[in-house]
């Protein structure tokens, strides 16, 4: 672990490693956001509630995720179905 922490975010001796870590992190962030928004949707959360926790507008969340998620889960959100049953 010491070996790892020493090179945290590359350090000035290797800017490329640091910059590449940023790229990797950005890609991971996008994938993780998509997964967690999907998980929340499946759990029956509204777009408004998801947006609130993410700290962005409902429109922003909807624009970025609704198309993809609605394609994957056509019809009612799975979580909501479960609740009304």
């Amino acid at each position: 672990m010491d070996e790892k922490t020493r090179t945290w975010v590359g350090g000035p001796e290797d800017p490329r490693e640091g910059l590449e870590a940023v790229v990797a992190l950005r890609r991971l962030l996008e994938a993780l956001e998509a997964a967690q928004v999907e998980n929340a949707f499946v759990a029956g959360w509204s777009w408004a509630r998801i947006a609130e926790v993410l700290g962005v507008s409902k429109q922003a969340v909807h624009k970025k995720h609704a198309g993809r998620i609605k394609d994957k889960y056509p019809g009612e959100p799975p979580g909501k179905k479960g609740k009304s049953a």
Binding site: M1, K4, T5, T7, W8, V9, G10, R16, E17, E20, A21, V23, A24, L25, R26, R27, L28, E30, A31, L32, A34, A35, Q36, E38, N39, V42, G67, R68
Partner: protein
């Protein structure tokens, strides 16, 4: 402009490169994705040179994923752990509704490919020119991937010209 004189195979290689980029979660088309595109097109001198040196599509994909995972490791993040915790919804894939641009390195590879085409006196831009263009990015992800798969850019270039000579004769 970027597509002038590209052979169908080269066009296909760029197209499949974009598909590979999307699948691997790359938010731009990297030069490594062009390399994957060549491998997936799997015809022509470039793919032949690569496969004769043991570079496979599967191997190159794995190498690309490993580079991501190594970069995250360097800042103390385990991709495996995150994959496990985020559950089935987690995938690196870039959603279909998001556009993926060319990266500067991919653009440069295609510009260099055109220069190579001219220098060689060819009137078509084939996958071999694209591969030569990719190799010009000495610091690029594609070259580093090849090196870690045990393939030196010089040897690959030699093999490419060898196969080219054979095809011409």
């Amino acid at each position: 402009m970027m597509f002038r004189r590209l052979t169908d195979r080269s066009r296909n290689c760029v197209e499949t490169g974009f598909q590979e980029a999307r699948m691997l979660g790359h938010d731009s088309l990297g030069d490594e994705d062009l390399l994957l595109g060549i491998l997936r097109a799997d015809e022509g001198i470039a793919a032949e040179a690569l496969s004769s040196l043991g570079v496979t599509l599967e191997g190159a994909r794995e190498e690309s994923e490993e580079m991501l995972s190594d970069a995250l490791d360097s800042i103390g993040i385990s991709l495996e752990e995150i994959r496990r915790e985020a559950g089935e919804a987690f995938e690196m894939r870039v959603p279909d509704d998001r556009r993926i641009p060319y990266s500067p390195r991919a653009k440069k590879a295609l510009v260099e490919a055109r220069k190579k085409m001219r220098a060689l006196g060819d009137n078509y831009l084939g996958t071999e020119h694209i591969l030569l263009g990719i190799l010009r990015n000495e610091d690029g992800a594609a070259v580093r991937m090849l090196i870690s798969m045990g393939v030196s850019p010089e040897v690959l270039e030699d093999r490419l010209f060898e196969l080219r000579g054979r095809a011409a004769s």
